[in-house]
């Protein structure tokens, strides 16, 4: 049981963070809080992906001991952490930034039009 908890602590952390974000997205009535929840949600997934790449005893994925053109250096897979999740997450980070930018732009327009960011008040004003 302890091993079940400790050996997989990274997954529990990301699930915890993700649920915070998820609740904020669906449950909060303030639009900025929703946006903050959205960010937490996205970043928890990024955390999850990066934690997949980890290897005990692995170094950062840049070939070491390189001087000049050393194509003769032989690396072994267990020496370095898995680079693929890092690459995927660079893309996901950019996507997150883009979404946040667009959402902020929308919020500015909404605030300008309704003079509030509380969802209930906006709904009332729309009628």
């Amino acid at each position: 049981m302890l091993e079940f908890l400790v050996g997989k602590f990274n997954y529990y952390i990301y699930i915890f963070l993700m649920m915070i974000g998820f609740y904020a997205m669906i449950g909060k009535r303030n639009l900025v809080k929703k946006l903050i929840g959205m960010n937490i949600f996205q970043w928890s997934i990024i955390l999850y992906f990066v934690s997949i790449g980890a290897k005990k005893g692995g170094s950062i994925p840049i070939v070491e001991g390189l001087s000049g053109h050393g194509a003769h250096i032989v690396s072994h897979a267990s020496q370095y952490v898995n680079p693929l999740p890092h690459v995927l997450m660079l893309t996901a980070i950019v996507v997150g930034v883009g979404t946040t930018g667009v959402a902020l732009a929308l919020l500015l327009r909404i605030y300008n039009k309704y003079k509030t960011l509380e969802e209930d008040e906006i709904l009332r004003k729309m009628k």
Binding site: I60, I62, V94, A105, L108, R109, N112
Partner: protein
């Protein structure tokens, strides 16, 4: 809406800091394939330097030097460089983005450098452009 700050300290510090930040950003972009870093990271740092100036000196002053029109051009240009490198590979007979066929020394490394520069330009321009848009909307 970002107004002018009258604090001399902020102005001086950011004036001194900005060139170094930009230099470091260029370093990060150019060394993306040998050390940690790359187009996206460097582009964000480069964009941050302009945002720093905009916060310290007021947005209008920065806009005079770095107009929206130039930004839009940069935004397109970066992606365009990326697409163009891919397209050259395609014209030369290889698959899209297959840098191996480029007629330069170390074609793959150079191809990667090229697209990193493209990504850097786009990311820088987009960061500043979104900042302009968000901060000048009344």
């Amino acid at each position: 809406m970002i107004d002018k700050h009258e604090s001399i300290i902020i102005k001086m510090i950011s004036r001194i800091l900005a060139p170094f930040v930009q230099l470091y950003a260029l370093y990060v972009i150019m060394h993306g394939h040998t050390s940690p870093g790359g187009g996206f990271q460097g582009g964000v740092i480069l964009g941050a330097s302009f945002i720093l100036l905009a916060i310290a000196f007021g947005i209008d002053e920065v806009k005079e030097r770095f107009a929206e029109r130039i930004l839009t051009t940069f935004t397109s240009m970066g992606v365009f460089i990326y697409g163009f490198i891919g397209f050259v590979c395609f014209i030369l007979g290889a698959n899209f983005l297959d840098y191996g066929i480029l007629p330069v020394v170390e074609p793959r490394g150079m191809g990667m450098l090229g697209i990193e520069i493209g990504v850097g330009i786009t990311v820088m321009a987009v960061m500043v452009s979104i900042f302009y848009d968000l901060s000048t909307y009344e």
